[in-house]
């Protein structure tokens, strides 16, 4: 089995190299001189020459790429052209928000997608099945940003004044604050990767509130996450529900299920113990593949709910031609996507003993 893991990791290397090369190339393809973008239109030729020497832009492309690769491995993504802040700091601020929305959406879509798909398969051709599958077809066809706006209208305006009201924007209600973890746990002397890690988790409001014992902030943060997570998770929910139904129906038609039923096993034992374990492989694949869609959905939905995540930062960076931010966020998101797909590949070995024994 370790051979399986090692082989998968080795196969990943050219893909990782390709991702970094594409993001490197994208930045170099942006029209215009980066010197004028950073130093301003009035920069002199001498200043630009000195700038290019400092940034290594006069080096051959393979040398520039090697430096770029080395910087990525060190977590150094350069500075934002817009406000000269370290891109790493911007990422540590913004990424946790997006990951919270993505994780929440994944939990929502996986839980309810598998549940609905299971009910549809077990009660095939019933009203529940027909309605669920019609809903899934409609769900897959909805633009996520439109769904976010519709949910905001329904839960923030139509249901205002009722217990079902949910706030339509922002991370926390006004008046609620949360201290950074470094301050709460007196870790101000931390530096380097340790500080980066603490900052990252500090900016993950739900995690921070949980470990800081701030139940009020945790409840408020989760409350503000409901609408974005439901909006982002609806499309993957529909896909997972359809896949669960078709995968389970395929398995339920097999001979060994007929045998299990003939033996007199309870239907829930047949489904949960015998059928679902074999039906899970394609479902897990779809869950893994939907991660990319969840990230994209999170990027879009943040602009709807005014959440301070990757999405709002990325769009702002594109419109202001801040290519170092665009480059950094693109490579990090792609790397996360690849990592999730790798975890999905690894999960096959646990779900299917035949793969383990190969």
């Amino acid at each position: 089995m370790s051979q399986f893991f090692v082989r998968r990791l080795i196969l990943l290397l050219p893909v990782l190299l390709g991702i970094t090369f594409i993001t490197f190339s994208l930045a170099r393809l942006i029209p215009g001189d980066p010197c004028f973008a950073i130093l301003g239109e009035k920069a002199t030729p001498e200043q630009c020459q000195a700038f290019r020497e400092r940034q290594g832009l006069n080096d051959p492309i393979p040398v520039q790429f090697t430096h770029y690769l080395g910087n990525i491995l060190e977590g150094n993504f350069g500075k934002s052209l817009k406000d000269s802040r370290l891109v790493t700091d911007i990422m540590l601020e913004r990424l946790p928000m997006t990951l919270e929305v993505t994780a929440g959406a994944m939990l929502f879509s996986t839980t309810f997608g598998i549940l609905l798909g299971l009910i549809s398969a077990v009660r095939r051709n019933s009203a529940v099945d027909v309605i669920t599958m019609m809903g899934a077809n409609v769900g897959v066809s909805m633009p996520v940003f439109w769904l976010g706006l519709v949910l905001a209208y329904v839960f923030a305006l139509t249901l205002k004044g009722t217990p079902l009201w949910i706030p339509p924007s922002g991370r926390l209600s006004s008046g609620l604050t949360l201290a950074p973890l470094a301050q709460t746990y007196h870790l101000e002397n931390l530096q380097g990767p340790a500080l980066a890690l603490v900052t990252f988790f500090s900016n993950m409001v739900t995690f921070n509130a949980l470990v800081s014992g701030r139940g009020d902030v945790l409840r408020d943060a989760l409350w503000h996450l409901i609408l974005p997570c439901v909006a982002v998770g609806t499309i993957p929910l529909s896909i997972i529900a359809r896949m669960t139904r078709s995968s389970l129906l395929e398995v339920l038609g097999l001979d060994y299920i007929r045998t299990a039923r003939a033996k007199g096993l309870l239907e829930r034992t047949v489904i949960f113990k015998h059928a679902m374990s074999n039906a899970m492989l394609p479902i897990v694949t779809v869950i893994g593949l939907s991660f990319g869609g969840l990230m994209s959905g999170a990027v879009l939905t943040e602009t709807v709910f005014a959440l301070p995540g990757v999405g709002t930062q990325l769009i702002s960076a594109i419109l202001s031609r801040d290519y170092s931010v665009v480059q950094a966020f693109t490579v990090v998101i792609a790397l996360m996507f690849v990592l999730v797909n790798l975890l999905v590949d690894f999960s096959y070995a646990f779900l299917d003993p035949r793969i383990r024994l190969q």
């Binding site: 991702i19 594409i22 993001t23 909805m142 769904l147 905001a152 994209s296 879009l300």
Partner: protein, 317 residues
């Protein structure tokens, strides 16, 4: 008794009325037309095509014309449904720039269909070419092309489109190029799989021995094999291209104002969702119905073209 020659009685049996056996294409079309979801999809798509074709006739106003004597963000006004007669009739209301929303949505159907068909056509042509070269050439050529496709597939498609638009600059053509580029790997893989399936077969070797060129073999033998999955994936690809284009326009990276693009309409009016919800709901419903139509037809095509169904169908004859 004299033996008289008897005319042998010939019992002629009228051949049973046998319908000519259906061609595979007829079988597929029959299954598609009987597929319930595909029926819904085809009705919606048919309606959409009619709206797009007859847009200049159906739209009451020019989609980009700023109307005078109307307030911004007026709600829908239909006199038959009780809207006062002194108010100007606008079935879908007026947007924030004092343009008729119904006209913009009607013309938007043209743009959406053009976007979907154009991006998928480009992606299929380029993807098929790359897949065919990769599969037929094999060796390092196959490896290089397919590893490049793997890398492109490693990115979430919308995010890669956003990154490409960041390079090319916002605009409708750049957005379409980005979406098409990102879709290429899917079609490359489909065609490559078909090439690999077919290229080692005897009839291909025979064609080669008879002097057929590689291009001739690809066109005559390989591409017909790849047609089925290409058609299914292409139909589903149109749906996702329309969604991606709407997303890019929503973010301000696609069609520029005052183009009547549904995603752009949503993006421009996103802050009006509470005071003028019709400006958000209606373009979104239009996007959803269009994408739903292509998804349902794609699902129907996939079922209709399923070889397992075609085998069972053949047995009935």
């Amino acid at each position: 008794m004299s033996a008289t020659p008897q005319t042998p009685t010939v019992l002629t049996v009228e051949p049973l009325l046998q319908a000519a056996p259906r061609t595979p294409l007829q079988n597929v079309l029959r299954r598609l037309v009987r597929h319930r979801s595909a029926q819904v999809g085809m009705v919606i798509l048919g309606f959409l095509i009619l709206v797009a074709v007859f847009a200049p006739v159906l739209a009451p106003y020019d989609p980009v014309k700023v109307l005078k004597d109307v307030k911004t963000r007026l709600p829908p006004c239909i006199h038959l449904l009780g809207c006062p007669a002194d108010q100007p009739e606008h079935f879908f209301g007026i947007d924030g720039n004092r343009r008729d929303l119904l006209s913009r949505i009607i013309y938007g159907s043209r743009l959406s269909l053009e976007i979907g068909v154009a991006t998928v056509s480009f992606a299929i042509v380029v993807g098929a070419a790359l897949g065919a070269v990769a599969g037929y050439a094999g060796g390092w050529v196959d490896n290089v092309i397919m590893r490049l496709m793997d890398v492109l597939l490693a990115f979430p498609s919308l995010l890669l489109s956003i990154a490409i638009v960041a390079v090319l600059g916002p605009g409708l053509i750049n957005a379409l190029l980005a979406i098409a580029f990102v879709s290429i790997p899917v079609y490359a893989r489909i065609v490559r799989a078909s090439v690999l399936q077919v290229k080692e077969q005897d009839f291909v070797a025979a064609s080669r021995a008879l002097g057929a060129s590689a291009l001739g073999i690809l066109v005559t033998h390989v591409l017909p094999n790849a047609l089925t999955p290409l058609i299914v994936q292409g139909t589903l690809g149109i749906a996702s291209a329309i969604l991606d284009a709407a997303a890019l326009s929503f973010l301000g990276l696609g069609a520029p104002p005052p183009t009547p693009e549904w995603g752009l309409m949503l993006g421009e009016e996103r802050n009006s969702v509470f005071n003028a919800p019709h400006l958000v709901f209606l373009p979104g419903i239009a996007i959803m119905l269009t994408v739903l139509a292509f998804n349902l037809i794609g699902d129907g095509l996939r079922d209709a073209l399923d070889p397992r169904l075609s085998q069972s169908g053949a047995k009935q004859h």
